[in-house]
C-alpha cells in the first residue's frame, strides 16, 4: 500500500520548497529529513524540484569572490588610526575645556569670597569707626570730663550738642 506522501500538485509550493531547501541545508531534524527522503523516493516531481533547486544553488559558485588586497588592509588600518587620533583629540579638547572651566569657576569663587569678606569686614569695621568718630569729642576732652562722676550730667551735655560743636571746630 502506498504510504501517504506530500503531493507536489496539492501542497502549497512554498511550503514544499521550504522543506526541500531546509533538507538541502541540513536544517531538518532527523525525523523530518527521513520523511523528506521517503517522499523523494516515491515522487518524481519532488525529485525534479530538488534537483532544480540544487542546480540554481550550484550556479552561485559562478559568482567571483574578491581577492585579498594588501592596499585595502593598509588603507583600512590607516583609516582606523586617523579615527583613533580624532577620538583622542576630541577627548583632550573636552578635558582642556573642562579644566579651563574649573579654573574660571575657581577664580570667580575666589573673587566672590574676597569681595564678600571685604564687604563684611568693612561693614563691621565701619560700625566700629563710626562709633569711634562719635566718641571722638569725648576722647579728646577725656581729661576734662574724667573728674565728673555723674554720667547723667554727661549725657545731658551730649544731648545739648556741646560735644558736636566742639568736634565741628576741630575738623
Amino acid at each position: 500500500m502506498k504510504q501517504e506522501q506530500p503531493d507536489y500538485q496539492d501542497k502549497q509550493e512554498h511550503g514544499f520548497d521550504e522543506e526541500l531547501v531546509a533538507y538541502l541545508d541540513g536544517e531538518l531534524s532527523q525525523d523530518n529529513a527521513a520523511r523528506v527522503e521517503d517522499a523523494l523516493s516515491e515522487n518524481a516531481e519532488y525529485r525534479l524540484r530538488l534537483k532544480q533547486l540544487q542546480q540554481a544553488w550550484d550556479l552561485m559558485d559562478e559568482l567571483p569572490q574578491s581577492a585579498m588586497d594588501e592596499s585595502f588592509t593598509k588603507s583600512t588600518v590607516e583609516l582606523v588610526v586617523v579615527s583613533a587620533e580624532s577620538e583622542v583629540m576630541a577627548t583632550v579638547s573636552r578635558w582642556k575645556t573642562w579644566r579651563i572651566g574649573v579654573w574660571a569657576v575657581s577664580l570667580a569663587a575666589v573673587f566672590v569670597v574676597a569681595w564678600g569678606g571685604s564687604a563684611l569686614v568693612n561693614s563691621v569695621s565701619g560700625r566700629d569707626n563710626q562709633q569711634l568718630l562719635n566718641d571722638l569729642p569725648l576722647v579728646q576732652e577725656i581729661d576734662v570730663y574724667d573728674p565728673i562722676d555723674n554720667m547723667e550730667f554727661l549725657r545731658e551735655l551730649d544731648a545739648s550738642g556741646v560735644f558736636a560743636e566742639e568736634l565741628g571746630d576741630e575738623i
Binding site: D17, Q55, M60, S66, F72
Partner: protein, 224 residues
C-alpha cells in the same frame, strides 16, 4: 525545561580571541581580522549593493564600527555573526540611501518582475551566431548576478550569508534580527526564485547543468 549551556566563544572561536586583543588596543590583532574578513565583506557588499568602489567603502565602514565598539565588546556569539550583523546594518543604510537616489530602471526589484529582458539579452549577446554555445565563466557569472538582482534585499542577504558564509539558519537569524522560521521562509523563497529565473536557461543549455523537463515559473515571489 533545561537551559542550554552558553557556549564559551572565547574557547571556540579564534576570531573572538583576536577581537579580545583588539579590545586591549592590539593593532596587530585588528589588522589580522581585517585580512581575514575583508574579501568576504567586499564580496557580500558587491552582490548586495552593486559597485566595487562602494563595496570597499562599506567594508571599511564595518571595520571602523568594529574598532570603535572594541571597548564594549563582549563575546556573546561567534565573531563572524557579530561582524555580519554590523555589515547587515551598514548594508541596510546604504540600500535605503540608494533607493532614495535610484533612477527607475527597466526592472524594478520591488515589483517582482523577472529580469527576463536582461537575461535574454545576455544570453543572446553571448551566443551570437551559435545559439547552442554555452556561456563562458564571465558570462555565466553575469547571468547569475542579474538573476540575484531580481531578488529582494532580504532574500539576497540571506542567500549570500547561507551560500558564502555557510551560516546556519540560527546564525543568519541573529545577523538579520529575524526569527529562525522567518529565515527558513526567506531562504526557500530566495532559492525558489533563483531556480525559477535560471531554469529556462539551464533547460536551453545556455547555462551549465542538465536540461530539466518542466518549464520554470514566470513570476518571482518577493514576499519574505
Amino acid at each position: 525545561m533545561q537551559e542550554q549551556p552558553v557556549p564559551n566563544y572565547e574557547d571556540l572561536d579564534p576570531d573572538v580571541r583576536l577581537m579580545l586583543q583588539v579590545r586591549e588596543d592590539n593593532a596587530a590583532a585588528f589588522e589580522e581580522l581585517v585580512m581575514r574578513y575583508q574579501s568576504r565583506l567586499i564580496s557580500l557588499f558587491r552582490y548586495l549593493i552593486r559597485g566595487r568602489d562602494q563595496s570597499e567603502d562599506l567594508a571599511q565602514e564595518v571595520f571602523l564600527r568594529i574598532y570603535r565598539a572594541r571597548k564594549r565588546y563582549v563575546p556573546g556569539a561567534r565573531f563572524s555573526t557579530w561582524l555580519f550583523k554590523i555589515a547587515h546594518n551598514v548594508a541596510n543604510n546604504a540600500l535605503r540611501s540608494a533607493s532614495r537616489r535610484r533612477e527607475v530602471n527597466i526592472v524594478s526589484r520591488s515589483s517582482g518582475a523577472l529580469p527576463s529582458f536582461s537575461l535574454d539579452a545576455l544570453a543572446q549577446a553571448a551566443s551570437g551566431l551559435m545559439p547552442t554555445r554555452q556561456l563562458d565563466t564571465a558570462e555565466r557569472a553575469e547571468m547569475v548576478r542579474v538573476a540575484m538582482d531580481a531578488l529582494n534585499d532580504r532574500q539576497r542577504m540571506a542567500l549570500l550569508l547561507s551560500k558564502f558564509e555557510g551560516m546556519t539558519y540560527a546564525d543568519i537569524a541573529e545577523t538579520m534580527d529575524l526569527s529562525t522560521a522567518a529565515i527558513k521562509s526567506l531562504l526557500s523563497r530566495a532559492r525558489g526564485n533563483l531556480r525559477d529565473i535560471l531554469e529556462p536557461y539551464i533547460e536551453k543549455g545556455v547555462l551549465a547543468g542538465e536540461a530539466g523537463t518542466q518549464p520554470g515559473k514566470t513570476q518571482v515571489d518577493n514576499r519574505d
